[in-house]
């Protein structure tokens, strides 16, 4: 079967919209284009019906009720709403928030802003496997703790946190538990009751839905969570998020959620098989390769590998018909290596050599085999160019060398 190039394997960054989702969205652009808040005519009613249908589809995927789904512009906004909304609302109760160091910037930077407003934030460390220590969490909780925010699964290393246990602890101590569920939704089972979640941030574009559409699950019973709105205006979404709803986007989100509900079990088995095939082939053909993060508690379609002595951007350049990403400083806008890998204790030298593969619904075995052979080929070629590989093979301990970094570095 002919492979179509370039191949996309960066499904943690975004996903292609499933054609079935696109089809479901189209009528809402030009036929049923009404504003869902237009209460007095059929255009509005049709849009409202579609939105409520999508709300139910999304709620079903996480075992919530439709009234608990608040639509936003994306998970970044959902994270902002959850953290700032809860912080403001529960200010009288306390001012302490607990999160952890490998969170997405949407959480970390929001926490930094809250610190400027006088809130105290504890950033729990993670172990080498990428997971927090539950005892660290217990010890960190004080009488003033109002919120715990721990991501369900990490976007760079795919590691899944012990969410059920965190939820139990939070419930015991009467602290609200929010999770950034962007990478987990539709890939592994998420159940707000079993996981004792009070809030979870969701987005459409990581599950083969459109960009620009997200949601926040906000618990209504045991306890009833209240949030201070961050977007003021017409009072939409039970007063929690004003703004005309992105009806086509929401319809797409709902359809994408329904497809995941139906296909997730089978899809995750298939993708795990492909991921393991990629990993095992690379490990059988190359030396000095390392996996970043736990393999046991990991999303089935993710792998993050460091290829020692080969810098990430040069590797990406070599496999330029494959789309993946790297933790190398050269590939980041700020020229800083990945802070997630740093938090795992991965040395900066290895961080620069890391590549993240995110498989998805539309990847095939042929594509995986092609990518694997390209990666192996390019790594071998670049190791021929690498002074570090040569020195390591000669038995030189690179960590003991006195490097003369240029003054500019």
């Amino acid at each position: 079967m002919a492979i179509k190039l370039p191949i996309y394997m960066d499904n943690h960054a975004t996903t292609p919209v499933d054609p079935r989702v696109v089809e479901t969205m189209l009528p809402y652009f030009h036929e049923k284009f009404g504003n869902a808040a237009s209460r007095n005519h059929s255009f509005g009613w049709a849009a409202e019906e579609a939105v409520e249908n999508a709300r139910a589809q999304i709620a079903r995927l996480i075992n919530a009720t439709p009234k608990e789904i608040i639509f936003t512009s994306g998970a970044t906004e959902s994270n902002n709403l959850a953290l700032k909304g809860a912080a403001e609302m529960y200010r009288e109760k306390g001012n302490h928030i607990i999160t952890q160091v490998t969170e997405h910037k949407a959480v970390l930077d929001t926490c930094k802003r809250l610190e400027k407003y006088g809130y105290e934030v504890t950033y729990l460390p993670v172990a080498k496997d990428g997971r927090i220590d539950l005892d660290d969490l217990r010890r960190a909780i004080t009488a003033k703790t109002i919120l715990i925010s721990i991501m369900y699964a990490n976007n760079e290393i795919g590691v899944v946190q012990p969410v059920q246990e965190i939820g139990k602890i939070a419930k015991e101590k009467g602290v609200l538990f929010h999770s950034d569920g962007v990478q987990a939704l539709g890939k592994i089972p998420v159940d707000v009751q079993k996981d004792n979640l009070d809030m979870i941030s969701l987005t459409a574009h990581k599950l083969y839905g459109p960009k620009g559409c997200g949601a926040l699950y906000v618990r209504r019973r045991n306890p009833r969570v209240q949030l201070s709105a961050q977007m003021d205006g017409g009072g939409h979404e039970r007063g929690m998020r004003s703004g005309t709803l992105n009806v086509p986007g929401i319809v797409g989100f709902g359809k994408a959620a329904e497809l995941c509900q139906n296909e997730m079990a089978e899809e995750s088995v298939r993708l795990r098989g492909l991921r393991d095939r990629l990993k095992d082939t690379i490990f059988s053909k190359l030396d000095e390769v390392y996996i970043n993060g736990s393999m046991t508690h990991r999303l089935p379609h993710n792998i993050n590998i460091s290829f020692a002595f080969v810098e990430g951007e040069s590797l990406l350049m070599g496999i330029n018909d494959v789309a993946v990403s790297s933790g190398s400083a050269c590939t980041s806008a700020t020229l800083e290596p990945s802070y997630v890998l740093k938090a795992l204790g991965v040395g900066e030298d290895l961080a620069h050599t890391s590549i993240r593969f995110g498989l998805g619904r539309f990847n095939t075995q042929e594509e995986v085999d092609y990518v694997t052979s390209r990666v192996i080929e390019v790594v071998q070629r670049l190791r021929e160019l690498s002074p570090l590989y040569e020195m390591a093979k000669e038995g030189i301990d690179l960590s003991k060398m006195n490097w003369s970094a240029s003054a500019e570095h």
């Binding site: 002595f309 810098e311 990430g312 040069s314 190398s328 040395g347 490097w403 240029s406 570095h409």
Partner: protein, 138 residues
């Protein structure tokens, strides 16, 4: 970020990849950068002691496409030049030749440093004038 054609060319067909014997008294070795920075360049030159002409140059680089291209270009440029001419190569010449964007200028600086470091190593070896006293490029 799109790469310039010249950077891609050097990446696909790097010039003068390899290793010269460090112990050779006429070989200068420059090892610059650091693995933690994601950039390490090793530039070696074989220099004729009488004419001071750089007869041979080899490089190996751990770094991005622009770093590989900068060091590959450096070996191309120094070959056939005298030490004095090679010392006058500046990073801005490299930036111009490869069309490096601002975020990659530091790669050209490292290449210029590598040239100077290799020459400095060769000079040091000549001064001590004992074949065994070779710098390890530290």
């Amino acid at each position: 970020m799109a790469y310039s054609d010249k950077v891609v060319d050097h990446y696909e067909h790097p010039r003068n990849v390899g290793t010269l014997p460090k112990e050779d008294p006429n070989v200068g070795t420059g090892l610059v950068g650091a693995p933690e920075c994601g950039d390490v360049m090793r530039l070696q030159m074989k220099i004729n002691p009488e004419t001071q002409v750089i007869e041979e140059a080899k490089f190996k680089t751990f770094g991005c496409g622009s770093a590989i291209a900068s060091s590959s270009l450096a070996t191309e440029w120094v070959k056939g030049k005298t030490v004095a001419e090679a010392l006058s190569i500046s990073n801005t010449d490299i930036v111009r030749e490869l069309n490096l964007p601002p975020v990659k200028i530091h790669c050209s600086v490292l290449a210029e440093d590598a040239i100077k470091a290799a020459i400095a190593d060769w000079k040091k070896k000549k001064e001590t004038s004992t074949p065994a006293a070779t710098a390890t490029g530290d």
